[in-house]
């Protein structure tokens, strides 16, 4: 059962690393905008068709 000292000794610091990473990134603004990144994944890139563009100069 004394292995529990080792297990806790590893897992707790590991959990704290996650906490620190979270706090650091929250400070940097990663979590300020949670809606827009969700929309960005829906975008598609269609090529803009350049066919049939005629330009005329209108008489004044």
């Amino acid at each position: 059962m004394s292995v529990i000292y080792l297990l806790i000794g590893i897992s707790l610091p590991l959990a704290m690393v996650f906490l620190i990473v979270f706090l650091r990134n929250a400070k940097r603004g990663q979590f300020d905008d949670l809606d827009t990144p969700a929309m960005r994944i829906l975008f598609e890139e269609k090529p803009i068709t350049q066919t049939e563009i005629k330009t005329e100069e209108q008489p004044k």
Binding site: M1, I4, Y5, I8, L12, A15, L19, F22, L23, A26, K27, D32, D33, L34, D35, T36, M39, R40, L42, F43, E44, E45, K46, I48, E52, I53, K54, T55, E56, E57, Q58, K60
Partner: protein, 782 residues
């Protein structure tokens, strides 16, 4: 043959580009349309998708350094970063168009949209002028909102961020402490080995340190401010509980008599912080952040030396000569220098008829110029103007309202009672059984936490406000909801509130027009800039192919022109109540404009009549009295020709005997909105503007007012019920704890259980009430 541009709607006079059988007036419009067409999410071919492209404005004011600096957030040798607020952002398609702007304008390097804030951050090449960027944004339908004065709430931002961090740390520690407390709760072999026991307890002590020293800081601050200012701050009993629980736990561990209550201690802190954080989640505070300055132009054409230059509004001084163009708002009190002017004072007094003034007359800030360009000598700058002073009387002490609220009063008395009982029990038990005495004291303080009472109010109103905000009803804070439930009278403004200024009914009396005359008339109306022409235009379709020649417009008098050979004249009627139309020199008829009454208002007023006093306070003349008498139920008070000050005084007098709500459009009734217990501002357009209002309601939802009040009442009932529930917990737990027989373990468990049930109950009940009262059948959609 003048074709109309498919993108912006202007005539293609200079050049015409054809693409897929649609005409475009310039390459900019074409590129913008192609970009929008690529964003598949909004329906671009839908006729209802009309992004209000304004090609005419040139945004020159953004090139003035002092104004540009408001938007530039970073600058270096190669690039500059700017931030604009775009109120038109409403869907994912908007995000697509804006983030792909770099495809059609190479000087824009990158755009990032912040959807919730409705703003964008752009990285631009250093050399591009901001006016060009703004024009590009306007071309795709998202003109930047530069008139809004930025509400710099840096303080609240910092507090919010701190609270979030405190919350996260408390949550982390709470979860881990709970994990390490498992051996205590379960009957495991481990319990017999003292070194294990000691190990877990030490970890708990260490984990609880951040909670004690960091996460609880805001509670300590609150309690200290209470002590300093000599009033019972709501955090004070909480801090006492926390300190007692913590010191007792430390004592137990150090003296090896027990394991303490670190899990319940950190749990209390965690849940309380969640409650506070929940209060912070206010959706869309933008509506309350605008100041009245956003209605004035940001640059004024001012005479400097011999020339007129565009000067920022803040730099205009007394005795300056300024030029105000057609349809601009006059930004300062002054004297008219031009021969004559037609002014619209609806902004200031609520009167819908325009005033004709001559040279030498005093003109006031807030009037809209409906003549051509006029010159004015400034007498009082905006802040000191009549309107500015009226608006600046907004200093309201809201902290006092909070302290007097029902929740705080109850919590205060409850705390005193609790302290008395706990310490009383302690001193009674101490002589006979010291250990039991301590137990009684600490468990009593843990179990009977007034925080459950606070949470009731916080969670109920927090949930309610968020649901209401989703339906576009913005409440300033939770106390407004309470006040709404206890009203006794409703007073309405007329123009803009009861009537909708965006819906004009044009009636025509006179000789009927021939079909070819009707078709041609539209051309003349479209060319005229006068608001009356724009309103009449709705009834006259514009035909492609008509050509307007010999167009003249005399602001204040009328317009004339020849279309398809027919000579039209639009002139103000001699009795000044309508507009005459003359065709080929012959009088044909007169147009009369009337603002439509909002639909559903009559039924709404009838519903309110049974429980409330009703009244109308209007700045307009009583010309409309007949319509208003038909609208308001018998027995309502209808008063006309009131100035903004008279309205405010009227309400303040009313307030001496009844609790009133005042409903106005916020433009000229700031005073009344402030004086009323609840000030409700009605708005139709995107620009929401509330100098002193407690509630913002979109025009089309005004008819749901009775339902909204019913909901406020329901929420109040829910708060009382959850009070009752938490009192029940407290009474049962407390009476047991005071005997000294309550095991701290059970006390520790009861605390989060009671908190959790309160939160669950209030959130579900509030949501339930919302769908029951505000969402049924034909009522508002979510």
């Amino acid at each position: 043959m003048a074709a109309l541009c498919f993108h912006c709607g202007e005539a293609c006079d200079k050049e015409r580009i054809v693409h897929l059988e649609k005409n475009y007036c310039c390459n900019g419009c074409l590129q913008a349309r192609l970009l929008i067409d690529n964003s598949i999410l909004c329906a671009p071919d839908d006729e209802n998708f009309a992004p209000q492209i304004n090609n005419k404005r040139n945004w020159e004011e953004l090139n003035i350094p002092s104004i540009a600096n408001r938007f530039i957030i970073y600058e270096d040798a190669e690039v500059k970063h700017v931030r604009f607020t775009l109120s038109n952002i409403h869907c994912a398609s908007c995000v697509f168009v804006l983030e792909h702007l770099h495809k059609i304008e190479p000087a824009i390097l990158k755009t990032e949209v912040f959807f919730a804030e409705k703003s964008i951050r752009m990285v631009l090449r250093k050399d591009i002028p901001l006016s060009k960027v703004a024009k590009q944004l306007a071309l795709v339908g998202y003109a930047p909102d530069i008139e809004t004065v930025e509400s710099t709430s840096n303080e609240t931002e910092k507090i919010r961020k701190f609270r979030l961090r405190a919350l996260v740390i408390a949550g982390f520690c709470f979860a881990n402490i709970m994990l390490f407390s498992i051996p205590e709760y379960m009957d495991l072999e481990m319990k017999n080995d003292p070194s294990f026991v000691y190990f877990f307890r030490t970890i708990n002590v260490l984990l609880s340190l951040p909670v004690f020293l960091y996460s609880s800081l805001e509670f300590y601050r609150g309690a200290l401010s209470g002590i300093r200012n000599k009033f019972m701050h709501i955090d004070f009993p909480l801090v006492i509980s926390l300190i007692m629980a913590y010191s007792r736990s430390i004592y137990e561990v150090l003296s090896k008599t027990g394991s303490g209550y670190f899990d319940s201690y950190s749990g209390i802190v965690f849940f309380m912080l969640i409650g506070r954080h929940f209060q912070d989640l206010r959706t869309d505070e933008l509506g309350f952040a605008k100041s009245f300055k956003s209605y004035f132009p940001i640059v004024i054409s001012t005479k400097k030396g011999n020339q007129f230059q565009n000067i920022p509004l803040a730099e205009v001084q007394e005795n300056d000569e300024i030029e105000i163009h057609n349809l601009e708002v006059i930004p300062a009190d002054g004297t008219l220098l031009s021969a004559e002017a037609e002014l619209d004072y609806a902004f200031v007094t609520g009167e819908s008829d325009h005033k004709d003034v001559l040279a030498g007359t005093r003109v006031y800030a807030g009037a809209r110029n409906c003549s051509g360009s006029i010159r004015i000598r400034v007498e009082k700058v905006m802040e000191d103007s009549h309107l500015g002073l009226l608006w600046n009387k907004e200093a309201r002490k809201e902290e006092n309202t909070e302290r007097q609220s029902f929740t705080h009063v109850v919590a205060k008395w409850f705390t005193l009672f609790l302290m008395l009982m706990s310490f009383g029990a302690f001193f009674i038990l101490y002589p006979t059984n010291a250990d039991k005495a301590f137990r009684a004291l600490t468990t009593a303080l843990i179990v009977a936490c007034p925080c459950a009472l606070l949470l009731s109010h916080t969670f109920t109103t927090g949930t309610a406000l968020r649901l209401l905000a989703q339906g576009k009803l913005l409440f300033k804070n939770s106390f407004v909801l309470d006040k709404l439930a206890t009203l006794q009278a409703f007073y309405f403004d007329k123009t803009g509130t009861v009537t909708n200024t965006h819906e004009v009914r044009v009636s025509y009396t006179g000789e009927a027009l021939q079909p070819e005359e009707k078709n041609a008339f539209g051309e003349l109306l479209a060319a005229s800039l006068h608001p009356i022409s724009q309103s009449i235009l709705a009834s006259f379709p514009r035909q492609e192919g008509s050509i307007l020649t010999e167009f003249t417009e005399t602001p204040g008098m009328g317009a004339s022109g020849k279309v398809n050979g027919i000579f039209f004249e639009l002139k103000k009627s001699t009795d000044a109540h309508g507009t005459d139309i003359w065709i080929n020199g012959k009088w044909r008829g007169v147009f009369n404009l009337e603002f439509e009454i909002r639909e559903g208002l009559k039924e709404m007023l009838k519903q309110l009549k049974s429980n409330y006093k009703l009244g109308l306070l209007s700045g307009d003349t009583n010309a409309d009295d007949l319509r208003m008498r038909k609208l308001f139920p018998f027995g309502s008070e209808l008063v006309y020709k009131l100035s903004p000050i008279e309205k405010a005084n009227g309400i303040s007098k009313m307030e001496e005997s009844v609790r009133c709500a005042y409903i106005g459009d916020g433009l000229n009734d700031t005073g009344a909105l402030q004086e009323a217990s609840v000030g409700i501002s009605v708005s139709d357009a995107h620009q929401r503007f509330t100098p002193a209002a407690d509630i913002l309601i979109p025009g089309e939802q005004l008819k749901y007012l009775p339902a909204i009040v019913a909901y406020a009442k329901a929420c109040r009932r829910i708060v009382f019920m959850s009070f009752g529930l938490s009192l029940l917990y407290n009474v049962i737990g407390l009476s047991y704890a005071l005997t000294g027989n309550l095991s701290p373990l059970v006390a520790a468990v009861l605390m989060p259980v009671s908190t959790f049930t309160i939160i669950l109950f209030t959130s579900t009940a509030t949501r339930n009430a919302y769908s029951r009262i505000l969402l049924d059948k034909n009522h508002k959609r979510v």
